[in-house]
Each structure stands twice: as structure tokens, then as C-alpha cells.
């Protein structure tokens, strides 16, 4: 069988890749993709802990949490992409550094 920490190592790797992308990508759609990767890493972690520690007792809290993260990810993608398209329409750019309307 697969030990629990294999899943945790996998999700740590995905999370770190996503973190790198979220900080360094220039394209804001790329930043959104990286954040989705990080959310997926968190989901793997939650489901792995659920399966190994909680599922034998019939505890469903982790699964409800995963559903909430799915909803949050969908909401984040929808609102984020709407904002990117809106910013592109007014400024003709998707580069995160150029979106400085709020700069004082």
C-alpha cells in the first residue's frame, strides 16, 4: 500500500510549483493557473488525511471541506477571469505589473 507521506510529498511539490508560478508569472492568467494548482495541492492533502485517518470512522468533515474548496476555486476562477478580461478591455494588457490603477 501507499504510505500517507507519499501523498503529502506530492502535494507539497505541487504547492511549491504553484507558489513559484503565482509569485513570478507576468501574465495574470498564469497567476490564476498557479493559484488553482495550489488549491489542488490542498485538496490532495485534505483527501489523503481523510482517507487515512478519518474515513474508517465514518467522519465526513474533510469531504465537506473539499467541496467548499471546489466551490471557492470555481468562484475564484470566474471572478478572476472576469476581472482580467475587464482590465484587458480598458488597458489592453494582462501583465500583472502594468495593472497599477490603484497605485497612489
Amino acid at each position: 500500500m501507499i504510505p500517507l507521506y507519499w501523498y503529502l510529498l506530492l502535494s507539497a511539490a505541487i504547492f511549491c510549483i504553484g507558489l513559484f508560478g503565482a509569485i513570478t508569472r507576468k501574465n495574470s492568467v498564469g497567476i490564476l493557473l498557479s493559484i488553482e494548482l495550489m488549491l489542488n495541492a490542498a485538496n490532495i492533502n485534505l483527501l489523503a488525511f481523510w482517507r487515512y485517518l478519518y474515513a474508517p470512522n465514518g467522519d465526513l468533515r474533510a469531504e465537506v471541506f473539499v467541496i467548499a474548496i471546489f466551490v471557492v476555486a470555481a468562484a475564484e476562477a470566474a471572478v478572476g477571469l472576469a476581472m482580467i478580461i475587464s482590465a484587458y478591455r480598458s488597458r489592453q494588457t494582462v501583465v500583472a505589473n502594468d495593472m497599477d490603477s490603484l497605485k497612489g
Partner: protein, 173 residues
């Protein structure tokens, strides 16, 4: 090394490779397609964790909806970033260092946690049904409130997305 372990390692390598390609790809459309591959790999991980419902939901929501949404956004913002330009900003080396430190720290903390060496116990078939989860989500004694809160969040996000992306006609012109 059993067959399921080999499957896990191959799947993990596919996920990590496609995640790296998602983050480093120059063309955003390539990044979006690699992202779809990474999400499918994550769905396989869910299936290996005996969370079949979440594997299906992953394919439906992420691969079916979010990936299509992202590809549409990429196509709508097409010529924004020149393709020969570097995809990273100037902080990339520092960030690589910090992320490497974070990753090593995570590995060390995971490796020396005795609880995590535990292996799984097989579940009985009645613990794996979607029906249990569905009943728990609608039971006021259990998770009905979080379920309703997430649905309100989704509704608010939908209205917000429509409002933000809506093209306003300038009045008086």
C-alpha cells in the same frame, strides 16, 4: 514495490512535470493545456484515495468548466504579451530560492512525523457511497449550514463575475 505504488509514482511524475510546464510555458494556451493534464492526474490521485465522487467532480468542474473558462480568457486576451518575452518577472531567482527552502522544510517536517508512516485500512463498501455524503450535506444536524454558505458564495461570485465582465455602454456618447 507493488503495482499500485508504481502507478502512483508514474502519475505523480506526470502531475509534477505538467505542473512545471504550466508554470514555465511561454504561450499561455500551452500552459492551459498542461494545466488540464495536471488536473487529470490529480483526478487519478483522488480515485486512488477511494474518493470516486471527487474524481468525477474534478473532471467535471476543473477539466470541464474551469479549464474551458481559462482557455476562453487566454483567447480573449491573445496578443497581450509578446511570445518572445520572458514569462517571469525579475524576482524569479529569489522566488526559486525561497520556494526551494519551503519545499525542503515541508519534506523534513513530513518525513519525521511518526503519524504519517501509517498505512490505510480498507473501507467497507457502505462507507464509500456518495449517498452518505449527500445526506450529511443536507442534514441540519451536520453540514447543511456550510453547504448553504458555499452556495451563497457561488451565487455572489456568479453575480460579481457577470457584473465585472459586462461591457458598459458609456451614457451620453
Amino acid at each position: 514495490m507493488t503495482g499500485i505504488q508504481i502507478l502512483f509514482i508514474v502519475n505523480a511524475l506526470v502531475i509534477i512535470f505538467s505542473a512545471v510546464m504550466t508554470v514555465t510555458a511561454r504561450h499561455m494556451i500551452h500552459a492551459a493545456l498542461w494545466f488540464v493534464l495536471a488536473l487529470l492526474g490529480v483526478a487519478v490521485v483522488y480515485a486512488m484515495l477511494e474518493a470516486g465522487f471527487f474524481a468525477v467532480v474534478q473532471v467535471l468542474i476543473y477539466v470541464g468548466a474551469i479549464a474551458i473558462l481559462i482557455i476562453f480568457a487566454v483567447m480573449l486576451t491573445r496578443r497581450a504579451l509578446e511570445d518572445q518575452e520572458k514569462p517571469f518577472n525579475r524576482a524569479s531567482l529569489v522566488t526559486l530560492l525561497i520556494v526551494g527552502i519551503v519545499f525542503v522544510g515541508l519534506i523534513l517536517s513530513i518525513r519525521f512525523w511518526p503519524l504519517l508512516q501509517s498505512t490505510t485500512v480498507p473501507l467497507s463498501p457502505d462507507q464509500l457511497t456518495v449517498g452518505t455524503l449527500g445526506l450529511a450535506l443536507t442534514d441540519p444536524q451536520q453540514f447543511a449550514l456550510p453547504f448553504e454558505v458555499t452556495s451563497i458564495l457561488l451565487l455572489a461570485a456568479m453575480i460579481g463575475a457577470i457584473y465585472i465582465a459586462h461591457e458598459r455602454k458609456e451614457k451620453g456618447k
